[in-house]
Symmetry: D2
Subunit: 390 residues, 4 copies
C-alpha cells in the first residue's frame, strides 16, 4: 500500500467521464451511506481527452485537478487508487502502469478487449500486490449478493441450470434500433473489443460465474441487425458496424449444469433487463434488475400445498450491505446504490487489506470473463462448441 | 372422406388412455362450447393394451366399444377419425395404417421418434388425402394464436429473437427429481424417442416455428441428472435412463433471427412453464402458459412516455376462437380448453374440408418438428452447430 | 329426500337460461371431472319465458322437456333439484314452492332482492328439510377454498383486516360505461334488487364472511355514474337507472377486524377483478380471480431474510377438490371449473346427505349476505355506520 | 426573501434527526443530481434535544453548527430555510416563528397534529410571504408526478374512483406487531396527533387530493390491535397506546367520485406498500411504491384486442424530473431519490421565486390534509359520514 495512505483518506484518480459520472457520484456518497467510512475519499484528479469536458466534470464533482494525460494522473503522488472508466481499448496500458506505480485499480467492465490483454493486467496487478477489482457492480445489489449466499448455503441443492439474459434498448427513444444512431466507439472492435457481448453480456457472464461456477464450454451465435451507421463526424457518410448487436449461447458449467446466455441492445420493451434464474435440485432463485429490490426464491422443502416462489424484499437489515447501510430502505434501493456499495467494498478492502473476492470481482474474474467472451465469439464464427480458455 | 361421414356425426376411434383422457374430454365438450358443432362426435372405440383399464375408460367417457388391437379399431367402419394418444413408438405404424384405411388422423406430439418415421407418416397421409394433424394444442390457446396474428400483421416488425422454454416438475411432489420415480416409458429411447426434448421441448419448438418461422440450425447440450432409476416391475433393481432430463440450445432462424430453446422436467418452482418472448424491431410479445389468459405486448409506436408491456386479457370476443366460444370467459380460460378448441378446429377441417394449417399443425409441421429435435440431439452429441434437416 | 332419488341419478330442473348456460355445462361435465360421480345428473327440464329460446337451450344441452311455467317444472316428478338461475325478483316465489314440493334447491346469487325475502326462502328450506345452496361459485375455486383452510388452521394468526373488491367492465367493448347500453333488468330495482352491489358485490361479501367471519357494521357510499339509459324495446326513449353503478364501504367484523369492500361495473382495465387480501397478526393471504390458479401467502414465521409472498399454484393434488379432479391441471384451471366443483359438491351433499356448509354457502349464508347488502345500501342513504341486521 | 440569499447558496437549518437524516442526504446530493443546482445548499445548523446525537449528526453530514434550542437556530442569520423534521407536536411553534423570522420552511408530514394547528402555520407563512412546503415526498416520484399529468391531460376521462392504501410493517423483524415494541412517541397523541393515520395515512390522503381532487366527506373506522406497550425508559411497566394502529375509510370526492383509503402499520408482507388506483371513465392508472419505477396505465382507446394495463417504466427523459436528472436510470430509481427531487423543487422555488404547487404540497395542502385526518378520526368516533372541514 502506498505509504501516505492513512486510514482516513483515499486519493482517487478517475480516468474517463461517462460511467465515470456514476463512479464519482458513488465516491461522494459512500461516506454518507456508510458512516464512518473505511476512509474518506478525496477526489484528486480526473483525466479525459477533451479539456473542456474534463473541466466541467471536475467542477461538478469537486475534483482538485484535471488531466488530459493519464500517465501524469497515475504518477500524481496524492492518487492512491485509479478508477478506470474509459472504453476497453486503453484498459491494459493504463492499468499496467497504474499497478507498476503501486496504485490500486478499479477498472470498468469488460476488463479488456481480449483475455490476452486481461491476462497482462492480472499479472501486473498480482506482481505489484495492489488491490485490483473489475467493476461488476451488480454483484453489489443486495438481492444478487444474497442469491450467492443462498446458493453457497445449499438452498437450491445441486445446480442444474443457469439462465441469464441482459437485454435493453439503449438510451433515448429507439436506442440502437434507430438506424441513424451514429457509429460511436461501441461499434468499433478496436475500441470496444466486442459489441453487446462486451457492453451487456459481460455482466451476465460474471453473474453466471458468481452464482453457478466456472463455464466450461459455449456454443453461440451472433447477429448484426444494422450493418452500417452514420459516421459521428460526417453523418452523410456511413461506416461498417464491426461488432455484434446480439448474441445467444448455450453453455455448460464445470459442475455439470447447463445454461443459456443472451444479450442484445435491441430489445424493445426491455429497459434494463438483467435477468437470471438458477435452478437446482432442491429449489430455484430468480432475479430481474428491473425489480432490483426483489429476489424470488423457491424451495422444494416447503410443503407441496404451500410452496411457491417467494417474492423476498431484500433490503432489510438481514440482507447483504444493509446492516451498515445508512437507512433501512422501505421504499427501495435504486440502481446507483449498487455503485455506492461497490465503492464501499473496494475502499474497505484497500484500506483494511481485505480480499476483494468472493463478494467482488478481481482482475482474475475479469480475465475469466474475457475468456468466456472470447470463446463465445469464436464459437459463433467456428460454428461449434468451444471450451473456455482453450 | 369416408362415405358415411354425414355433416352431423363423426366417429372417433381413440388409441391410448393417458393424454387420451384429455382428448376424450375435449370430444365430449366440443359440442357444448361450439354450438352447433361442425359435427357431433360419436365415441366409437377406445383401444389400449390393458383390457380392464380400457373397459373403465370406455365406461367413464361413453365409448361404444373397446379394443386391445389397434388394427381392428382402425378397420371399424364407424370410425372416421383416429385420435392417436399412445407413446411415440407406435405412432408411425398406427398412423400409416389409419391413413391407408382412409381415416383422418390426429396424432399426439411428438409426431414420431425421429424425422424419418415422421416422414413416412406424412407421405401416407398425403397419399391418402385424409386430414392429418399433430396435436400441438398450445396453438389453440387464444393468446398464442393471437400472438401469431399480431406477428403476421407486423406488430413487432422484423423478428430479431425468439426465446422459448418449457420447464416443469412432473406430476407429484418431486416429479422426476425424485430418484425413486420408476423407469417408465419416458426414460426409454425406444418408446419415447427423446426425453424432455420430446415430452416438453417439442411444444416450444412448434411454437418457435409457428411464431418466428423455420429454424435453420441449432447448437445444443443435454444432460441426464439422474442416471439410473428403479425398474417399474422390479423396484429393487435399477435400469439406465436412456434420454435427456434437460436440454439447452442456441438456434438460428432462416429469417436471420437468433434464439434459445430450453427444456427440463426438473425445474423446481415451474408448474407448467411454457414461456416465450418474440422480440422484433418494432415491438415484443411474451407469454407464459402459467398465466394462460394473458398476452404481453409492447410496441415502440406507443409514445416514449406511455409505452410499456401491455398485459392483454385475451378472452374477449375480439380474440381467436372466442367469437364462437360458448361464453365470454371473464374469469378466464383453463388448460383443458385448449384441447376443446383443437378438437373443434380438427372437426371443422374434417367435416368442412378446410385446411388444418396455418392455425393447426399438420404432419408436415410434426415432421419439421422432428427434424429440429433430431438436429438438437445430434448437435449435443457432435458438439457443433448443425443445420436442421441436414 | 324425495323417494325416487336413487344413488345413481339426479333429476335437474333448470329455471333461467343466462347463467343457466354455465350451470348446465357444469351438470354435464361434473361426471367427467369427478368419476364416478355421486350421482349421474339427468337434465329433465328447462324453464324460461321465451318458448323459442327455451327450445334452443334444451336442444343444446340435452334437456328432456321445456317449460314456460315454473310451477309445472317444479311439480315434475322426475325433477329432484331445482337450479334457479333467474334474476332475483322471482327467487323467493320459486324457491319457496320448490322447497314445499320437497325439491332441493341451488339458487343463484344474490339469494333475493332483500334479506326479508331471503329469510322466507331460508325458513321454507329448513322446514322442508331439503338441501339448499346459494351458488357462490367462487368458494369452489381451489385457491379460495384453500385460503379458508389456511386461515382456519391459524396460518395468518388473528385476523386484522379484510380488503375485497369485485370490479369489472361488463361484457362487450365498453360494457356499462357505454351510455347506449340499454336499460335491462340489471338497472331496475324491482328485478335486480340492487345494482353492482347485487351483481358483483354479493360475491365479495360472501368471501369476506367465508374467510374473515361475520360483518358487524358497514359505512358505505354508492354512485350512479350514468343516470339514464335507452329503453330496451324503444331505444329512442330513455328511462332512469334505479340502482348503483358502484359502491365503496368501510366495514367492521365481529372479531374486531376492519375492512373495505368495493364494487363497480365501470372499472376500465378490470376484466374480472375479484380481489381479496386478508391480513393477520402472523401473515397475509391474497388472491385475484384474474389469476385463478394462484394464491399468494405470507408468513412472519419464515425468516426475516427469506420471507416474501409465496405465489402458490393451487392445483396440485394437495389442494381442495383436486384430489378427485379428473386430471392434475399443470396448465391451470379456468373460470367454468368453479361451477363444476360447485355442482359436484351440491350433488354429493344431496345424494349422500352431507352438509353444504362450511365449504358451500347455504340459504343461511345467502340470507346473511342480503343483510349485509341491505345495510350497505341503507348506510349510504342514511350517511352513517349501520349494524348489519339491525 | 432574506437579503443575503444569493443565487448561489442557500443556508439550511435542520431541526430533528430521524427523517432529518434523509433530508440531509438529499440536500447534499441535490447538486450532484441537478447540476448546476438552483443554489448550492450550505448546511448551517442542526438542532436536536440530545447534544451528543446532534454532534454526531453534524459530523456525519457536515453541518457547521449544532443547536439544542430551535429558537437560536431559527435566528441564525446564515439560515435561509428551516427544514423541520421533528415529531408533529412542535411543528406549529417552530414553523410560526420561522415564518415570522422570514425563513422559508419545509415541514415534514403531517403538517400538524390537527387542522387547527396547521391553519396557524398556513396563516403565518402566508403573512410572511415565505415559501412553505409540506414534505409529501412521494409527489416527487416520477411515476406519481406523471400520473398527475396524465389525469390532468384527460387520459382516464372523468374520475370515478380512487383506491389508496399505505400499509407496512415498521422497521425490524416484527415492527409494531411485536407487543414488546416500546411505547415511543408514535403512540402518544400529544406528540404524534394520530397514529398510523398520521404516520402513513397522511401520504395516501395527499396523493388522493393530488390525483383525484378534494375529498368532501369520509366514513371511517379505526382499531388499536395492541392496547398497551412497555414504557421506553421502564420496560417493566406498560402504558396505554393512545392512537390507532389501523384505519379504513370510505370517501367521497367533490367531483362525485367514490373511494377508499386504508392504512396500517401492522401489515405482514407489506414492506412499504403505498398503492393507489385511479379509475376513470376512459382508463385507469395504478401504482405501488414497492415498484417505484413502474406506472401501470390502461386506456379504453386502445383497441379491444390489444388493450391491457401497460407497465410503463417512468425514468426515461420523457418523464417528470428526469430531464434534468443526473443520469438516465436504466436500472431504476430508489426511494431516497424522491427526497432529492423534493429538495431540488423546494430550492428552485425558493431561489427563483416559483410556485411550490401544484407539483409540490404547500402548507395549504398540509392544512387540507389535516382536515381530512381530523374528519376521518372524528367519523370513526361518531360512527357516521362527516363532511371534511365541517
Amino acid at each position: 500500500m502506498p505509504e501516505h495512505v492513512s486510514p482516513r483518506t483515499l486519493g482517487v484518480g478517475m480516468i474517463g467521464y461517462n460511467i465515470g459520472r456514476v463512479h464519482s457520484h458513488a465516491w461522494l456518497n459512500m461516506p454518507l451511506f456508510y458512516h464512518p467510512p473505511p476512509a474518506k475519499p478525496i477526489l484528486i484528479g480526473i483525466c479525459g481527452r477533451d479539456r473542456e469536458r474534463v473541466k466541467n466534470f471536475a467542477e461538478k464533482f469537486g475534483y482538485k485537478r484535471t488531466f488530459t494525460d493519464w500517465v501524469t494522473l497515475i504518477k500524481d503522488p496524492e492518487v492512491d487508487v485509479i478508477d478506470l472508466c474509459t472504453p476497453p481499448n486503453i484498459h491494459a496500458d493504463v492499468s499496467v502502469l497504474a499497478c507498476e506505480s503501486g496504485k490500486h485499480v478499479i477498472c470498468e467492465k469488460p476488463l479488456a478487449r481480449t483475455a490476452k490483454e486481461a491476462e497482462l493486467m492480472l499479472r501486473a496487478a498480482e506482481k505489484a500486490h495492489v488491490k485490483h477489482m473489475t467493476a461488476f457492480n451488480y454483484r453489489f445489489i443486495p438481492a444478487v449478493c444474497y442469491a450467492g449466499k443462498l446458493i453457497q448455503d445449499g438452498f437450491i441443492g445441486r445446480i442444474l441450470n443457469f439462465r441469464g439474459a441482459y437485454l435493453n434498448i439503449e438510451i433515448g427513444d429507439l436506442g440502437y434500433l434507430n438506424p441513424d444512431a451514429p457509429l460511436d466507439w461501441h461499434f468499433k472492435s478496436e475500441l470496444a473489443g466486442y459489441g453487446a457481448v462486451a457492453d451487456l453480456g459481460a455482466h451476465i457472464i460474471d453473474i453466471a460465474r458468481f452464482l453457478a461456477g466456472e463455464i466450461s464450454s459455449v456454443a453461440a451465435a451472433t447477429a448484426v441487425f444494422i450493418k452500417e451507421r452514420p459516421l459521428p463526424n460526417a453523418p452523410e457518410k456511413k461506416g461498417a458496424v464491426e461488432v455484434e448487436d446480439a448474441a445467444v449461447a448455450a453453455i455448460k458449467f464445470q459442475n455439470g449444469a447447463l445454461g443459456t446466455i443472451e444479450t442484445s441492445w435491441m430489445a424493445p420493451g426491455r429497459k434494463d433487463f438483467l435477468r437470471f434464474e438458477v435452478t437446482g435440485s432442491e429449489g430455484s432463485i430468480r432475479f430481474n434488475l428491473e425489480r432490483i429490490n426483489e429476489l424470488e426464491i423457491f424451495s422444494l422443502k416447503d410443503s407441496n400445498a404451500t410452496r411457491g416462489f417467494r417474492d423476498v424484499w431484500t433490503t432489510s437489515k438481514a440482507h447483504p450491505f444493509m446492516e451498515k447501510f445508512w437507512v433501512e430502505q422501505g421504499g427501495g434501493f435504486g440502481w446507483d446504490h449498487s455503485f455506492v456499495n461497490e465503492i464501499y467494498h473496494f475502499t474497505d478492502c484497500v484500506v483494511n487489506d481485505k480480499q476483494i473476492e468472493p463478494i467482488g470481482a478481481t482482475f482474475f474474474d475479469g480475465y475469466k470473463n474475457c475468456l468466456v467472451m472470447d470463446a463465445l465469439i469464436a464459437s459463433a464464427k467456428q460454428e461449434r462448441w468451444l471450451a473456455v480458455g482453450a
